[in-house]
């Protein structure tokens, strides 16, 4: 399940500025940053921006290379699933873990869309794929050391992956390795103390080879998951390893009182030149947990706190304060891009079996009301008309159902489509949503009100989010028997390309009886063939992008997904923070390079 993670995508700076300007036209401050575009080098080379609204979405705010003896303070309104890099599936923990854990591959530390570029972390270069596409080989940089002074070897990386196989000990992380690598029955090193994972081999101390069951072109993205950050076997304490993970990044744990506070200090064995994507700018980092969300915002605005660790944006109260004050707005960024909110239109529930009926829904939906339901143009997102996120390889802007040209709904075309479908007076269909998500409850009611105008009656059915995909919307049988032709959903891709975004949503062979994420039950042979083509070894990146772009168009023609908004987040940066910018892969500030003056 990839429902909790949020890897992000950045829009082009131009689209972004335009959207934000429209959103904030009522405010006197419409600055969009210092105008610097994504730099080609590392962050320190970036042209600095003065503090202005959205400055952090296009350039680095307060760039600085000076190391200070300050303490950088993070706060979290909840508790992390785990701080163990091998056992976590939140966007913010993947971001935060870069402070003390370096995976094989990582994302380029740069503002704007450049942040989506994969670059080597521990590895010397991106993986090399064998001719048959079944093995991926990485070489790790020689001479690297853990915080305890021990050398980092390929065996430590292999062990780090091995331990994630024991889901009874480390239950939180994604399971790509178990799916992609051979030897899927390996029980993990805690249960099997003598054997090892045969599908990873380490010919020497700096080489690691992954053996796949079938070719997988996006393996470099998988290698960028923090699960590949090295773990020394003799220091591993299973689920408790999160209390004192041995560091391979710029900082190391000084103390961690579970679910209360973690304190990180400089890692003396970290070599800056070997890890250009991270920086060691302060002497100490604290992460306080279980702080009230509104309290976090107030402390951020007052300057007592530097970063809201969760990176999901300020609460409604702080949003109102920030957007109505030109001064506060200068320290805020409306960061684009961690997820798509959309509605599944099921192809097996009558009368939605007919594409024209689905298209009628696409036309009639009031996208403005849906956008408002998700928090409006600033905190919610931009009205969406595609299934790929802006900035993803293969994304092109198109508007099949007038979502952008007639955002309040196109009733004329909807009625035409209804007639074509043989239901000129409309029809009745069920709609499933997660009743414990207030924004989704609002969106469901907004869609109900909009569709009523063309005669389509929605019967709303709320379900708990915990079992939404396991028992309700994710169970095709339940969907059919309960007439749930319309199902609300959201998707944070695990990595920013067409595979990460669409494979689980619309590839026909991903339909499963429970935990189904292809809720539309889209099984278009053309779409399936394009996925196969993109996955073939030797397919160039450009060809892949073209495939995914084509899939996006086909899926929209089939009208199996009704895109609502490209998610956005309103972030606030404290005035003392240096090297701040919204980081595309996670949709929040880049924690690995932050400093404090």
């Amino acid at each position: 399940m990839k429902r909790r993670r949020t890897l992000a995508v950045a829009a082009s700076a131009a689209t972004f500025a335009a959207l934000t300007l429209a959103a904030c036209s009522s405010s006197s401050s419409t600055g969009t940053g210092g105008g610097s575009t994504a730099p080609s080098g590392s962050t320190s080379a970036a042209a600095g921006s003065a503090a202005a609204f959205n400055a952090g979405t296009t350039g680095v705010v307060n760039p600085s290379t000076t190391k200070t003896s300050n303490t950088l303070s993070f706060a979290l309104s909840s508790t992390p699933d785990s701080l163990d890099p091998g056992n976590t599936y939140y966007a913010w923990t993947w971001n935060f873990s870069r402070l003390y854990a370096t995976p094989l591959m990582t994302y380029k530390s740069a503002p704007g869309a450049a942040g989506n570029t994969l670059v080597p972390g521990l590895a010397t270069a991106p993986g090399t794929q064998s001719a048959d596409g079944l093995t991926w080989t990485y070489h790790i940089k020689p001479g690297l050391k853990f915080s305890d002074g021990e050398p980092i070897t390929s065996a430590d990386v292999k062990y780090a992956v091995e331990r994630t196989y024991d889901r009874s000990v480390l239950e939180n992380g994604p399971n790509y390795f178990q799916v992609l690598l051979g030897d899927p029955k390996y029980p993990g090193p805690y249960k099997d103390k003598t054997g090892n994972l045969t599908s990873i081999t380490t010919p020497d101390a700096t080489t690691i080879v992954f053996h796949l069951v079938s070719p997988f072109p996006d393996f470099d993205y998988v290698a960028a998951i923090p699960q590949t950050a090295p773990v020394p076997q003799d220091k591993d304490t299973g689920a408790n390893y999160q209390l004192n993970p041995v560091s391979s990044g710029p900082y190391m744990f000084q103390s961690y009182t579970l679910n209360k506070e973690a304190v990180l200090v400089d890692n003396p064995n970290w070599v800056p030149s070997e890890d250009p994507q991270a920086e060691q700018n302060v002497a100490k980092i604290t992460l306080t947990m279980n702080v009230n969300a509104d309290d976090i915002d107030n402390r951020l605005l007052a300057g007592d706190l530097d970063v809201d660790a969760a990176g999901t944006g300020v609460q409604a109260a702080a949003r109102a304060k920030i957007l109505s004050s030109p001064t506060l707005m200068k320290s805020a960024d409306d960061a684009l891009g961690n997820r798509l909110w959309f509605i599944y239109l099921n192809t097996k529930v009558a009368p939605l079996t007919n594409a024209s009926c689905r298209q009628a829904i696409e036309y009639a939906a009031d996208k403005t009301d849906l956008q408002t339901a998700y928090g409006g143009p600033v905190a919610g997102g931009a009205v969406a008309s595609t299934t790929l996120l802006p900035g993803m390889p293969g994304y092109t802007s198109f508007d099949l159902y007038n979502a952008l040209s007639q955002p309040t709904g196109d009733d004329t075309d909807a009625k035409t489509a209804l007639t074509k479908c043989g239901q000129p007076n409309g029809f009745t269909v069920g709609a499933a949503y997660r009743s414990d998500r207030p924004k989704e409850v609002q969106a469901a009611q907004a869609l109900q009100a909009a569709l009523a105008k063309v005669g389509i009656t929605l019967q709303l059915h709320g379900y708990p989010s915990g079992s939404y995909y396991s028992d309700f919307a994710g169970s095709p049988n339940y969907v059919h028997t309960h007439d749930l032709g319309i199902d609300f959903g959201g998707w944070p891709p695990d990595w920013p390309d067409g595979y990460g975004m669409l494979e689980e949503l619309v590839n026909g062979n991903t339909i499963v009886p429970a935990g189904n994420t292809n809720v539309s039950e889209e099984n278009n042979p053309q779409v399936n063939a394009l996925f196969t083509d993109a996955a073939k070894p030797g397919t160039t990146a450009a060809q892949q992008a073209a495939d995914y772009g084509q899939i996006d168009k086909l899926v929209m023609q089939d009208a199996v997904m009704l895109p609502e908004v490209y998610g956005k987040t309103l972030l606030y940066r404290g005035s003392d923070l240096t090297n701040v910018y919204a980081y595309a892969p996670f949709g929040m500030y880049n924690y690995a390079v932050l400093g404090k003056s």
């Binding site: 409604a316 109102a320 207030p438 009100a449 709320g462």
Partner: protein
């Protein structure tokens, strides 16, 4: 408290006599006396009038207001999700303003919400009273192991983690069951949950009353001429219990309304878009609207406050009027 009334107050003709001055002195029934006392209690009368007004509002109001589910997106500032204009967008067209996010008319939602609140509050109270009186009478009259069994059952119900149970039950009930579906089913479920768990309060009061009444002469008299259990229970004892039942029903209604609001607040109440006071409060708090649009929290809050207050004041007055000694 012990209410001592005539065995069958309704059946007795008021006797008349002639005073010295010639003007006839009207004998008054206990109900008339109670009514005179109640009428002198201005606070209780005010509560009663508010209740009448609320009932009227709930019955005819929904036909007079706008459609509570109509969106007025143009009245909402999408950036902040709050109504345009001060005081939650109050205007002539929308006397109580509009909802944040949707722009739906607040007056309509409050009025239709009142209908649901009162409907569920009343029906749940009826259910609680029927069950409570039935078991209370039986426990009090028969005593012994019957009493022990029912009294323990009441303890179990009173100690039950009701909120947790309600959330779990509403979670597992399908969207249609027993020939009902959607919101109708949900209303029925809410009535059942709220009423079924409120009966022990009524049961305990009735049981205490019956224990003191069953030793009275009129019960002995009925028994001596051969009356059997059911006759004594429902023809002799029950009419004497009308006063406490009335009083405690009136006091149970606001408790039930509050409980329904609490369930709404927790997201297991009425199904959206059905307006509900509890859901408005819940939205205002969880989505932070209390900061950007305080009226969205104040208005349903005041509605709940007035309703609960009116029922409590009227219930207190009713108790004082029917049983002055309990003051």
């Amino acid at each position: 408290m012990a209410v001592t009334l005539d065995p069958s107050p309704g059946q007795r003709e008021p006797s008349t006599a002639t005073s010295v001055g010639g003007a006839p002195i009207q004998g008054r029934s206990l109900w008339q006396i109670a009514w005179r006392r109640l009428r002198r209690d201005r606070v209780a009368m005010a509560g009663g009038i508010v209740i009448l007004f609320l009932l009227l509002l709930a019955v005819v109001g929904p036909h007079l207001v706008q459609n509570p589910n109509t969106y007025n997106s143009s009245l909402v500032d999408p950036t902040f999700s709050r109504p345009i204009g001060s005081w939650g967008g109050i205007s002539l067209a929308h006397p109580l303003g509009v909802e944040p996010v949707t722009g739906r008319d607040m007056l309509a939602r409050i009025v239709v919400g009142a209908q649901y609140s009162l409907l569920i509050g009343f029906l749940a109270t009826v259910l609680a009273v029927v069950i409570g009186v039935f078991f209370g009478i039986i426990a009090g009259y028969f005593g012994g192991w019957v009493d022990a069994l029912i009294a323990r059952a009441m303890d179990v119900f009173l100690a039950f983690p009701l909120l947790v149970f309600a959330i779990a039950l509403i979670g597992v009930i399908p969207n249609s069951a027993w020939g009902l579906s959607g919101n109708t089913l949900r209303v029925a479920l809410l009535v059942f949950i709220i009423g079924f768990f409120a009966w022990p309060y009524m049961g305990r009061i009735v049981r205490g009353q019956v224990i003191s009444l069953r030793e009275r002469e009129f019960v002995d008299a009925a028994r001596s001429i051969g009356a059997r259990g059911p006759y004594i229970l429902f023809r002799e004892l029950l009419p004497n219990l009308v006063a406490p039942i009335l009083v405690y029903s009136t006091l149970l209604i606001p408790t039930n309304i509050l409980f329904e609001a609490a369930l709404d607040y927790l997201g297991v109440g009425l199904i959206p878009p059905t307006p509900s006071w509890g859901q408005m409060l819940s939205n205002a708090v969880t989505e932070g609207f209390y900061y950007i649009d305080p009226m969205y929290m104040v208005i349903p809050g005041v509605a709940i406050f007035i309703t609960v207050m009116a029922f409590n004041l009227f219930g207190d007055g009713l108790r004082d009027a029917l049983d002055p000694r309990s003051r």
